[in-house]
Symmetry: C2
Subunit: 337 residues, 2 copies
């Protein structure tokens, strides 16, 4: 089995880190306050269901608390979903190209995965919605990685109409995109939405994610999750973060502005760049290989992610940093190219 | 599937909580300091392997860092082990009576479990070591729950000699017991030890556990764990906690003293109490049912754990609290009985 390899995480040194889609800005100051306060009773077990977060997220996202399941990162939510719905030899359906972790989740479960190519405009094709009794779960990241592209909700609803199995809309990057599918869940019990606080809430270090699903599905998933899957500090921090929607909006707005400027600048340097709805951009070149560019950037102290998808493309997935970081990237790229 | 049900966790109210084996004393003050310090860079992902903890634990426990795998609580370690070694229809072997969660882990994996009764002295029998190709993993909690009894290392080594599969010695409570099996791992690659910081380190709220295994096994398990399974705050807190061995020893010493006094007092009230090597005691009665005692204690604001093991016994598992808490328990019990 080939394990999922996350982006490099140097723990020290002066590196401009644009390889794992972290947020370049700090989280809401309410988070650290809540954590300090929670650090005084660590001898007690945390609330197994994360009630404080469910209530706060319910208010922020306009869903019932019973529709929310907390996870140790959205990876934990994805793991819980895979274990709950996909048995040995069952199948997961994924778009291609897409997030590599889904394959690993299938392999750990001794399940199969089938990757259905997206259309040239990175939308769903008829093949993606073709019924197959072996398929027990569909993963649909939206926005997608590494493309940053967005699939409209009509397509998701049409998919839910045709497929008998649950559809997990992985919205890790949705706060940078036009809209969330959370509003679809209530009337479409086959749709499950996963979210993370790692990206838009600037809390990658906290490991906190959640999913939104019909209450009955949430109750079933609770049987599969570890009893205490989120710790007291993460719960306190996540609860504080989701109540500060003004901080989120401001943070997201800055990143979107940098993203759009960065897209234009990269195109000016000869890269083909997809229009992104996430906090990263996907950059390819027809005129020269991109792997040496990644390597040269690395030697110059700038980490981006080189990714190679056979039968599709290879390229650089570059996280949106601060304006200063992107300016530094552009200066080095002009020198390299 | 019947989910594992953890002990009740009231999040507020004045309750004397002796039902989930939490530590009645606070953790080392270094923990909160480390957490506050780590709360300043939460926008970055944590170290996937928890290097700081591995190095600190290596020094404290005298094993190589490469033999340590960090987990989101030792439950996460148990889940990783089960997923790595036990496929659908494979078997887990467990002692009986024992920790209920193991059954749930098998069921989530669509695996079987077989419970082999312990001897009347709560030691391993020949049946526990009888080879069976269907058995892919053995769970051996030591000290055991709910009995608090301890299995000597000669028996564990003899078991490892006879069985071809890995043996997980779950040492959640070992700091309250005579000795750890960690020293056995190096020369016996079939032995894997799991530990938690929830009990002896007074960090149940932190969700931090780890396992000690041969480096090759650790590398394999890394492929199964979530990439970032421990968050930056827990990692920082756990690293600080394990470096403060003096705090641990002092804390454990107080609990052991209370435990031994409490055992004598409970026997004085007519309970049969097993000699415990953990931070709880197992109390039964021949003269009357124990469930009503649990219920009456609950109405009086004292939570203990009532457990019923068919074909063995039912009884009360009571965590060792502070001297004041145990005094309060004894006063109420005298009134009830």
């Amino acid at each position: 089995m080939s394990p999922y390899t996350p982006g490099e995480q140097p723990q020290s040194g002066k590196v401009i880190k644009l390889n794992t889609n972290e947020n370049p800005y700090p989280p809401s100051p309410r988070v650290a306050e809540a954590i300090v306060s929670a650090s005084n009773r660590l001898e007690r077990y945390p609330d197994p269901l994360g009630t404080s977060f469910r209530i706060a997220a319910s208010a922020a996202l306009n869903v019932e608390p019973e529709m929310i399941l907390c996870g140790n990162g959205s990876d934990d939510c994805l793991t819980i979903l895979t274990r709950a719905f996909v048995g040995q030899h069952d199948r997961l359906r994924l778009p291609y190209p897409s997030y590599i972790l889904y394959r690993t989740l299938a392999e750990i479960q001794s399940a199969q995965f089938e990757e259905v190519p997206l259309s040239p405009a990175y939308q769903l094709t008829d093949a993606f919605a073709s019924p197959d009794p072996r398929v027990k779960l569909i993963y649909l990241p939206n926005p997608n990685s590494p493309t940053g592209t967005f699939i409209d909700h009509e397509s998701i609803l049409a998919l839910a109409d045709k497929m008998p199995c649950p559809i997990v809309v992985d919205e890790a990057y949705v706060d940078f995109a036009p809209k969330s599918a959370i509003s679809l869940v209530k009337d479409n019990p086959k749709i499950i939405v996963t979210r993370t606080l790692s990206k838009s809430y600037a809390l990658a270090g906290l490991r906190f994610g959640f999913l939104v699903a019909h209450p009955e599905i949430v109750r079933t998933l609770c049987k599969v999750k570890d009893s205490y899957n989120t710790d007291a500090l993460s719960l306190a921090g996540a609860t504080a973060a989701i109540t500060d929607q003004a901080w989120l909006r401001n943070n997201v707005s800055r990143i979107r502005q940098t993203r759009d400027r960065m897209t234009i600048s990269m195109r000016g340097l000869g890269f083909a760049v997809l229009d992104s709805h996430a906090n990263f951009i996907w950059c390819t070149r027809a005129d020269r290989p991109t792997k040496p560019i990644y390597e040269q950037l690395k030697t110059r102290g700038i980490l981006v992610r080189y990714m190679n998808y056979p039968n599709w493309s290879d390229g650089l997935r570059i996280s949106v940093g601060t304006d200063e970081q992107i300016e530094a990237l552009l200066v080095v790229l002009k020198d390299i190219l």
